[in-house]
Symmetry: D2
Subunit: 353 residues, 4 copies
């Protein structure tokens, strides 16, 4: 019963098989291989338009490259104060951009509200040489609270950003989970809503180490191939990165994985919510459950073998937490997880375990 992280789970069978298959024969190195070319084509088809793809091994690399491409060293990135780029990447965006400033905005359920964005921009006059001009809006989809921006919400935020000349980045570490939950197309959730650059995650959803920075302005790739190389993120045996992404997308594997993970999370959330004394911090819209548990329940679950993270300090729970009697926790499901584990945890929670 390991609900600590989607990263605690391994690699899906189709992706593992694809790695073995890709191992046959020799191939061009450093991205000139046939599989890497196929990835670019697959993403163009997926997004129904020409895109450029910068393949990397980690989401932090994808996010930081996106920030660097769209934010000058003297600029500012607007993001949620509890967003991954702000709090979990040890200053990668600052590093890659050459010292840009990340400005954290408040917002319920780790989402930025349009009014909050507008107010922040009103306080940041772009032409004042004393202040870093805002250059990029970064949204996380699914958010760090496991919640979602609808395509309409994205469009509204993007419009506000674009009107002030900011570009829009989506940190899609859990892109698939959001997509299947919203039941929209990849195009609708991104460029059709105004997203300029996307960190497309695969690792959390069954890949070994594979992410794609998707550029809806393909011309940006010219700059990013240099930035990727100098960041040490151009893999020499690039075919193995490409093989993961291709297998991920093939036959809807990624969507099936995400649907399974989301369904487990919904079941988990619904089940926990019915346990006396338990509150859900936010609605379960992807594959994460944030809950406030009585300390006694928390102890029982852990004693029963359930593993998950206490989340205090990562982001604030939405309403007052009584830390003397309650614990704020995060439980994450994975497409590689067995539904039986969710059942066991719920049994434990209900005292049936």
């Amino acid at each position: 019963m390991n609900f600590t992280s989607d990263n605690s789970h391994g690699v899906s069978e189709p992706i593992l098989r694809a790695l073995a298959r890709a191992n046959e024969g020799t191939a061009e190195s450093y991205g000139a291989d046939a599989l890497s070319a196929a990835v670019e084509k697959a993403f163009c088809a997926l997004f129904e338009r020409e895109v450029a793809v910068i393949q990397v091994a980690t989401g932090t690399a994808a996010n930081a490259l996106a920030i660097a491409a769209y934010t000058p060293p003297y600029g500012a990135v607007l993001c949620h104060r509890d967003s991954h780029v702000m709090t979990d990447e040890c200053g990668a965006g600052e590093f890659y951009s050459g010292g840009a400033k990340l400005a954290g905005l408040d917002g319920e359920a780790c989402k930025i509200a349009p009014a909050t964005l507008s107010a922040a921009l009103a306080r940041m006059p772009g032409g004042d040489q004393h202040r870093t001009p805002p250059a990029l809006l970064s949204l996380t989809q699914a958010s760090e609270a496991g919640t979602l921006y609808s395509a309409e919400e994205i469009a509204i935020l993007a419009k506000i950003a674009h009107e002030r000349g900011l570009a829009v980045h989506m940190d899609g570490a859990r892109f698939a989970n959001a997509l299947v939950s919203l039941d929209v197309s990849p195009a609708e959730m991104t460029w059709k809503a105004g997203v300029d650059v996307l960190s497309f995650g695969a690792t959390k959803n069954g890949a070994m180490a594979a992410e794609a920075l998707v550029l809806f302005d393909p011309e940006r790739a010219q700059e990013l191939v240099f930035r990727r190389k100098r960041a040490g993120h151009l893999l020499s045996k690039s075919r193995f990165l490409a093989a993961q992404l291709l297998a991920y997308l093939e036959d809807g594997h990624w969507l099936a994985m995400a649907r399974h993970a989301n369904a487990l999370a919904r079941r988990l959330g619904n089940g926990l919510a019915q346990v006396p004394g338990v509150r859900l911090a936010w609605p379960v819209e992807a594959n994460e459950v944030f809950a406030i548990l009585p300390l006694s329940l928390d102890a029982r679950l852990r004693a029963g073998g359930a593993r998950y993270h206490s989340w205090l300090g990562h982001s604030a729970p939405p309403s007052g937490l009584d830390s003397g009697s309650e614990r704020f926790v995060r439980l994450v499901t994975s497409g590689l997880m067995d539904g039986e584990e969710v059942g066991r945890l719920l049994d434990l929670a209900r005292g049936d375990g």
Copy 2:
């Protein structure tokens, strides 16, 4: 007959099997897994002392982290003018260090001679605020010319560097090839000779994407875990990086691979040297052959299906090249290569193909 690069070859069977094996069950993420801990132990045993290991997916990341750890932003790195860190990493060392200067030194066969190092240091008074003080010496072993520094040569260079307060880095992208050729221990080729920090390569020698930054001053790891994370090089599913390194070291697999590759290169070099009109640019000491071929022979080899890179522009051939009638080329062998390919290329070269 693909002699373009060791990176064109795939993953060895033991390493591929280890990846599948590592996929069982869940594991801690971000380096807290059991395999990552085992890697640290394995390297301590390998180097016969306490070391810290920073695992990353690329050699450029390892090199750039090493430079950043030992060179202040206002400092200088001394390296060969044709070294990989100087010419092939798109400024990664400059990026990671925050703008240090890489100063390229001349040297036959891509090796820095002690007198050259001493002379360069004499020209760089460390205490002059107008000039970047030298902070690090970086040596590549095996060198970019496929040649080797003996342990004694390393010790002499390291002594000169240390006397001026510089640390010593070894770019060991082909560490195994050098080691088996010199027939010394890992300790003798590194810290016993004065190396402070080592980029230990596995990818070129059969791994998928796995390198280790080995710190002979383990205290440095405190800083480097932050630098790795903010560079986006901390893999979430870190067990798959560790699994590669463990399988690489297990039962001397890495040494067997390197011996095989080196033997193929020696056979290739010796064979080519006997073909009329062919000169070897440098002695074949690892798994690379640099040769000057008559244009007609070059054309015959390529027509016969041999693939390799023209090397003009990468590094200068040691003696005058008649570019009207000759071509300067690099042929690389791999532990995953079939000896039969070498035979076929030599047959072609001798006109027997």
Copy 3:
């Protein structure tokens, strides 16, 4: 009646004369001149201990150098959310440090309270590789609200910081104004209270362009001379920078200037506070007056020739501002200002103008 900024005023007569005097004959360049050596001595005497001094032309340079010296690229600086380093230097600290993160803390009257600092540090576990470890606490004295930390308050904050391994920086752009108001010694307001590095300002208080970064750990100067040079802040004709600082300190000129400016501000603040409808945002403790004026009064003052900045957007007024009928403004006095101007403004405010 120009109350817009202390920077709108020029250079005091003693300092201007010193510049002319320093112009006689030739001198060593780049800091090797006799006056620069005298500055170092003068600061040692002033602070009653050995210090090193890095002379620069701007306060932003001094602050950014201090941040870079004490914060690794992967570290964080704790400062007030409305502090100058956070909001008015266009990311200089981020630039000089190579991408450190500035974390803004809340606090009444632009001061950080001990409890706020402790709580912030509790949320920042230093050893988590995902998060930038806190490295430096930066305090502004006098603060951006024209308020002061007492020597005791500084000592308490410094103790909290030191216990967690942070260094303490003081942005003393208005150091003199704070000093004369607190009536303590330079030593008491700095290193005796735990300050490790000080940006000592002179420009706002009558110099042309002269600031001193004072290092209470003189060994740090070795690094900072390189950082200054590469930032372009080593003046070739350095004697003219040194001449300003020497004249500034000579015969208590700097203290006299600050006393005059502070007295004018007190008179201005007291006078305004007695005008019906006017509130002072914060107590007047140095040479700045922050006031909330009825819009009609604001209009009358401006029509009468008074110049000062509206301060909305720079920092929040302490209590609710009725922006429909009030304006939040800043008025700054200078040691070069004529007391008569204060009188005229107060006359205008009282309707006598």
Copy 4:
């Protein structure tokens, strides 16, 4: 007899008077003052076209800002291997650009020959992700050897650079000295010959601390005002920087100063060349004399009170130096220097002293 540096001399009378004059009354700060606006106009007139001017206090700041504006972090700057940006600014260009690479080219008399530039560019294929693409050519005028590029030579180099997409920077620390020697207009020596951005020096030629970054593409100023601020180079009392530049340009003061300095240097060079055993390293074309002196003469001059720098280690003398019996030295003249000093030095040299 101080020939050590033009920076050892002080401030010209007209410029010192202008500083006093600028001190009257209050003024807008941070570049919004009337004098700063006048500087922009004066430079437009001087260059016979619209330009933007970024005023700073040091030449290193001007150079580094120019490099940052025209070189991406992953790019390369081509400059002479002994150029000031390469060897005397402690990595400022690398710092400001975020880690660009400065590639030093060989060249007689510190000048880059067209064939050298072409050959270097041929070795740097711009589209190879492994290598920093060349982005900027930096020329120093007058050069570090006191020699000049003719307007035609500049045009030829700029054409080569532009054809490969590089911008062209001129480090004009001794712009005036070059200009009066070539007897061309500022426009002819810069943008008409293909220069895109100019570091216009005034400090060495009589200012206190005043340089102008002149942008022939004025749109670039939008970015550079932010870069200047975050580098700490926006002076708060900006009128005093502007006052220097205005007085410098007024009534041809700058040209008169440069003509005087150049004439002294020519006389010094011609005189020394006639002394037995003395060789000039390079022709004297601006205000610097590089000479090879017999050690005995060197000793006699110094004993007689002459001061100048030994230049060994700064740049290589053009022909073999017999360091057992000769010394390579630099003597610099200034517009503020008395001709009588040159006479005394020559008398000493001829044994008449």
